[in-house]
């Protein structure tokens, strides 16, 4: 099996569009990905740097509130905090709308899919206050600019990001013999969470060749990685455990503690063969099948190893491998499902821009939650599940079907004729049953809904 423009758009892009033609070759897909990030410019999402302003203001108000609880100033601060939280919530819904529009109008769909894939690989979410809304800005700053470089650059950018450090409890991890620990004594200690997840999830993989001792040593090496609300990432040597650490048999660092030693360890982890295998397998699972062929994974892994983790080369191997084009792909995640539906319906940017938070919630974000994807709130640092069975549950299918029948009429007030839409949405992958349903449905809404709910549309 080999390249097929419709399948390419469905499997590696954001789905078929009645307006935008599919890429003509894998070369064209990769060329678009190497080019400028047009969608980021056309549908902007706040950068984390800007988002920090919200955190700063929140911290300022919190200090006022704490100062004299019950006083008018404190009460005003409580109100101000509520407003800040509310504004962030409303703005975050808007960023979701932008994400949707990027996917609807892009001619570089692979980039959107990769941003989601790597954003999920490096899952991070805020636990308190305005930070709960910081996921999109984090992906915008730490993930999206590094989709096409070496994996090690992506790894370093994610690991040093304030949201990532916060989510995996790194910012308060203090070396037991560090300057701070010896001074403060109480309430300080090492937190292994980030180190463990970096080995287990982000690099070597759960079956990778590391021990508890490696986790501990890497956690000690990571001490000092922290952030300040105003300045962002900061390497604080007072938190750092003195002495060198040995991770996977190699010694890093010494005194004084330096950030470049952390970088060196991360680069070595990124270049490790187990990391190559783990990442390539994960990419193949995400884009092709829950059970990708060994030949595909091996070919990608070899390219990763040969290129020292040059992601563009790995993508190229993926796209050009015959096993990447087997029919009946994965089940779309809810974000892929609703955004590819928007794309097939050619939902106008002005329409989504005109949606307030409530409209976005009621029509898209909450229904996605019912489909099993509460947006930007995966259960753990391992992100969204890949297994088809996790998504094709009775609840998930009921929610997809109900959404498909009910919501397109809001997204596209002049619903297309289902008999045409079956070709728009499914291209060469239409089936007799779906074409029949499109024709036999009693209303346009039902016809469109049945096409969108069909397994042919639900699968990538």
């Amino acid at each position: 099996m080999s390249f097929d423009p419709d399948l390419a758009e469905i499997r590696f892009g954001c789905g078929l569009s009645p307006v935008l033609a599919p890429a003509k070759s894998t070369k064209a897909i990769l060329a678009a990905l190497s080019g400028p990030d047009d969608m980021a410019a056309r549908f902007p999402i706040e950068s984390f740097e800007t988002f920090q302003g919200r955190m700063l203001e929140r911290a300022r108000q919190s200090a006022i509130r704490r100062k004299d609880r019950g006083s008018p100033a404190s009460r005003a601060a409580t109100k101000a905090i509520r407003r800040l939280n509310q504004t962030a919530r409303i703005d975050a819904a808007g960023w979701f709308g932008q994400t949707l529009m990027r996917r609807t109008w892009t001619e570089d769909g692979f980039r959107e899919r990769l941003a989601h894939f790597w954003g999920d690989h490096f899952t991070a979410r805020g636990k308190t206050g305005v930070l709960r809304r910081a996921t999109s800005p984090y992906i915008e700053d730490a993930i999206r600019p590094h989709l096409t470089g070496r994996f090690e650059e992506l790894l370093i950018a994610a690991v040093k990001h304030p949201l990532f450090l916060h989510y995996l409890d790194q910012q308060n991890s203090v070396g037991p013999n560090s300057a701070v620990a010896t001074r403060r004594k109480k309430n300080t200690g090492l937190n292994e969470n980030l180190a463990r997840e970096v080995l287990e999830l982000h690099t070597l993989g759960v079956d990778g060749p590391y021990t508890q001792q490696d986790v501990r040593q890497l956690a000690e090496l990571f001490t000092g990685l922290t952030f300040q609300i105003r300045a962002g990432f900061k390497f604080n040597k007072h938190f750092a455990e003195p002495g060198a650490e040995t991770v996977l048999g190699k010694e890093y660092g010494g005194d004084p503690a330096r950030l470049r030693d952390v970088h060196a360890a991360l680069r070595d982890l990124a270049r490790h063969p187990a990391t190559a295998r783990h990442l390539c397998w994960k990419l193949a699972v995400h884009f092709v099948s829950d059970t990708p062929t060994e030949a595909l994974v091996v070919a990608m892994t070899r390219r990763y190893d040969d290129s020292r983790g040059d992601l563009m080369q790995v993508y190229e191997t993926l796209l050009n491998h015959p096993d990447a084009w087997v029919p009946a792909g994965n089940i779309k995640q809810p974000i892929d499902f609703v955004s590819s539906a928007c794309r097939a319906l050619a939902v106008a940017p002005e329409l989504i821009a005109g949606f307030d938070e409530r409209a976005l919630q009621l029509n898209i974000i909450q229904p996605m939650g019912l489909m099993g994807q509460i947006w930007e709130r995966p259960e753990g640092p391992d992100g969204w599940p890949e297994e088809d069975r996790q998504w094709v549950t009775p609840q998930g299918i009921a929610a997809r079907l109900q959404w498909a029948v009910a919501v397109p009429q809001v997204l596209r007030p002049d619903l297309p004729d289902p008999r045409d839409f079956v070709r728009t949405a499914l291209g060469t992958r239409s089936s007799a049953a779906t074409a029949f349903a499109a024709k036999a449905a009693e209303s346009r809404a039902d016809g469109i809904g049945l096409i969108l709910a069909s397994p042919a549309f639900q699968r990538q």
């Binding site: 409580t78 636990k127 409890d169 109900q402 779906t434 449905a441 039902d446």
Partner: protein, 411 residues
């Protein structure tokens, strides 16, 4: 099925016949699944937000209590209700007093998860549901209730249900779990229902899920089959979404849980929100407890004869500060209370090793001191309901936990 290409007319004729057989199909009812092991039922309710244990089960007999929380006379029909001469329950739980007298309502007090000091909802709930000793090691990828199920024989996909819209991390893991949000309807025209079956028939995974969805959606109060127009269906869907964000869907959740538990289901879990009472907590607690009481009563009436085999346990991520703050609320604390109900429990008592409320007895001079790990109680509950072994409990389900003595929570 015929292989001939369908015509619209042929399809419509066949639809009528299919319509009849679909309604009678045993596949579409949830009762066809084989029973899971044993006959006991466990319902785990996660109270998200940090329930104020001291405000719910009030230690009015503790000499320090009145200075901390004020005096609330128990004379009127609306005040708190005395339980045992030392503890009294919050007025909003008054409707549950008949259960207390029947020894089908009980409390465990001054307990907590191993979570300490950071007092974040997010981490606290993660730890409560993961059932692990701390977060510094990273978090388990599955929940303790699911790990318990992996030790049970003969499970089917209907043995356990996660109900509602929240992620129920406590139930996620490798053992099969069904999920359903009874607060969201599936409504389709009769024609669309049949066409959807036809379209899904191309893919066995979808086809099976759709059949089950029809069964579940049809059994939770509103039929799937609807003659509403598409704009009415849309309005209804949006209405459901709105209702879910405003709360008030817990009755449907309880009804649905009871319905499933009357059948093949043995384990159900869902969450109740609204416990984060930082300000004016008399209002907030009233509301949240009213909902909890309603849920328990709804479960009782829905479970019918199965009530006698049922244990309900409601747990929260942490308790709250013993002192009221400047806005008549309480902030995040440490130990709190666990609520139990059901015909299978030994109720009518407050199980506790009461630590006292004088300042020196408090945790960090601010919170109720935890006297026991809440996981031990959950563990003994599962031991007695499902025969789970102590060694599995201490290693697989709650790694690192010492179960300690049996508090005999089950009859």
């Amino acid at each position: 099925m015929s292989q001939r290409p369908l015509t619209r007319r042929a399809f419509l004729t066949r639809s009528a016949a299919l319509g009849c057989s679909a309604a009678a199909s045993p596949l579409l009812t949830p009762m066809t699944f084989a029973a899971a092991p044993g006959d006991n039922r466990l319902i785990v309710i996660i109270l998200r937000g940090g329930m104020d244990g001291i405000g719910v089960v009030r230690p009015y007999g503790d000499p320090a209590y009145r200075a901390l929380r004020g005096h609330h006379p128990m004379v009127s029909d609306t005040g708190p209700v005395d339980l045992d001469g030392f503890f009294a329950i919050h007025p909003a739980l008054r409707p549950l007093m008949p259960l207390w007298h029947a020894e089908q309502l009980g409390f465990v007090h001054a307990v907590s998860t191993p979570y300490r000091d950071k007092r974040s909802h997010f981490d606290g709930q993660d730890l409560l549901e993961a059932g692990t000793p701390d977060l510094a090691q990273g978090l388990a990828r599955d929940g303790w209730l699911n790990r318990m199920m992996t030790t049970m024989p003969g499970l089917t996909t209907r043995s356990a249900f996660a109900i509602g819209r929240d992620n129920m991390a406590v139930l996620s893991g490798s053992a099969p779990v069904s999920n359903w949000s009874p607060d969201s309807d599936l409504q389709l025209s009769p024609q669309a229902m049949l066409l959807a079956e036809m379209v899904m028939a191309e893919d066995p995974l979808f086809s099976a899920a759709l059949k089950e969805a029809y069964g579940l959606a049809g059994s939770d109060g509103d039929p799937v089959r609807s003659l509403a127009s598409e704009s009415e269906i849309l309005a209804e869907m949006q209405q459901n979404m709105l209702a879910a964000t405003r709360g008030g869907t817990e009755t449907k959740i309880a009804e649905f849980a009871a319905q499933q538990l009357r059948g093949a289901t043995r384990i159900a879990s869902f969450s109740l929100n609204g416990w984060d009472t930082h300000a004016q907590q008399y209002k907030g607690l009233n509301k949240a407890l009213g909902r909890l009481a309603q849920v328990i009563l709804e479960l009782k009436s829905g479970l019918g004869p199965v009530w006698d085999k049922t244990a309900i346990v409601a747990m929260t991520e942490f308790g709250r500060t013993v002192r009221l703050n400047g806005s008549n609320g309480t902030d995040h604390g440490t130990a709190g209370a666990m609520i139990m109900a059901g015909g299978a429990i030994r109720g009518g008592r407050v199980v506790t090793d009461w630590p006292g409320l004088e300042e020196s007895a408090l945790y960090k001079r601010r919170d109720l001191m935890p006297t026991r790990d809440v996981r031990a109680h959950a563990g003994w509950l599962m031991r007695e309901l499902f025969g789970t072994s102590v060694s599995d409990l201490e290693s697989i389900i709650f790694p690192g936990l010492e179960m300690g003595s049996n508090p005999h929570l089950v009859l």
